[in-house]
């Protein structure tokens, strides 16, 4: 089945629109049909901090809406992926499901436990497949050295992901980057968190963690970093600029969302299809290296 309910979450469709744009373009190009659901709300992940029950109910509401349309969910944000997949797991328990359904009933909904949740990268990996992606590549990105960043909730909690990839030694994003022709660079702080989830509470963890990773990858002669979550993107790209100003640093690491990298390789228009001109750290030198004739 290559038809999914598109779960945009909160931040992508409001703050990192180029992620939505490039994801829609890549999916269309590779035959994945995305259905917009007008009833979706926040996945509930931050509400878990104050009330796990409220977080679970918001997630369940979204799962129920997708189920009513007989669709599985495709997510863009790693955190939405983790929150919704964890809810699917919790709601396998009959007692929990009954309790949640009693509340969902009051808003005319019911969740029967049938919805699956997959991140866009997982859909590309499992439904399209590395070999089929490779056949469609139009531009030569073999000069790009890319540092992958997975995002914690893409694979954790591990119990919610049915053995898809290994959170301690992940490989799928490396393979997806290879499929575009670019070279995925291995580095020591690969699994280090971006710090984005507590950024509204305190900026310090993210400022520290972002610098630790950027210091590591800058030493690896990379051309760009590739992320698969808008929060990770905001931390490494937008906050990279803030860190440069505040701590007098000179980081200059272009950051792309994975569908943007794939979209370049598939021959998409850098601006109209992929929104590369919206990225905070300029991608002009990257495009020049790939001999892509476009000024952003």
């Amino acid at each position: 089945m290559n038809r999914y309910a598109l779960f945009l979450g909160c931040t992508t469709p409001t703050q990192v629109i180029q992620y939505e744009l490039s994801s829609r373009w890549v999916c269309k190009h590779l035959g994945i049909e995305l259905v917009d659901i007008d009833d979706f709300v926040c996945c509930g992940i931050n509400q878990i901090n104050l009330s796990q029950e409220a977080g679970l109910m918001l997630a369940a509401m979204n799962l129920a809406h997708a189920e009513a349309k007989e669709l599985d969910i495709l997510t863009l944000c790693a955190a939405c992926t983790g929150a919704l997949a964890e809810a699917v797991e919790s709601l396998k328990d009959q007692e929990t499901r009954d309790r949640v359904n009693r509340k969902l009933q009051t808003i005319g909904l019911k969740y029967n436990g049938r919805t699956k949740v997959k991140h866009i990268s997982r859909v590309l990996y499992e439904d399209v497949g590395i070999d089929r992606i490779k056949i469609k590549i139009k531009r030569d990105l073999s000069k790009f050295r890319v540092a992958p960043h997975y995002g914690c909730h893409y694979l954790k909690p591990e119990s919610a992901f049915e053995g898809f990839d290994d959170p301690d030694n992940p490989k799928t994003l490396h393979q997806l980057i290879s499929a575009t022709g670019a070279f995925p660079v291995q580095y020591e702080t690969l699994n280090l968190c971006c710090g984005g989830k507590s950024f509204p509470i305190s900026k310090e963890p993210a400022f520290y963690l972002v610098q630790k990773k950027l210091d590591n990858i800058m030493g690896k002669k990379i051309d760009c970093m590739v992320v698969q979550c808008q929060t990770c993107y905001l931390m490494y790209s937008d906050q990279q600029k803030v860190i440069n100003g505040r701590f007098k640093k000179q980081y200059n690491v272009p950051v792309l969302l994975y569908p943007q990298l794939l979209g370049i390789a598939l021959g998409g228009d850098p601006i109209n299809d992929l929104g590369l001109n919206s990225n905070t750290v300029s991608l002009n030198s990257l495009l020049a290296k790939g001999e892509i004739n476009k000024q952003l």
Partner: protein
Amino acid sequence: MKQDNSQSEPIRISKLDPKFKSEVMKHKDAQGLNACFACGTCTAGCPVHEIFPEYDPRKLAKMVKLGMRKEVLSIPYIWYCVTCHNCEQRCPQNVKFFNILNVLKNMAAKEGYAPSPWVEQTQQIMQTGIVFPKDEELAKKRESFFLPVLKSDCKKAKKLIELAGLDKIKAKKQS
């Protein structure tokens, strides 16, 4: 790295709450707490501990077991967790510290320690269904990318938030 001064206060038995541990462990996700043998693997892999040594998952688990209710619930650092799941991923005893922490945060929120950003996000969801406003500017921006109008069912979300009692949680007053 900053100095860890958190050991300086003596523990007073008269101030301990013997029921605290069982109250925490009532929650399904926190039931593994008894299996913790204080190895410190969680602490060693915690990025927040790396920055703030006072924030220490192993020690928090111990404090819960001892019944240090007020101390645990009032620690500002519990809200700094970056939700990386390292602690539970690496625990040899399968203790879900991350989930225990969520139980603790939920209790702290009820007792008046909720940080205002999370309370404000909840209020925003009740209005727009997401944690951001949907204004004219956003509509124009999305239109310029030829993207559909952003919709969500905030009424149903609001109702669920009320049913869970989340609307009653007030933000901690700034001191």
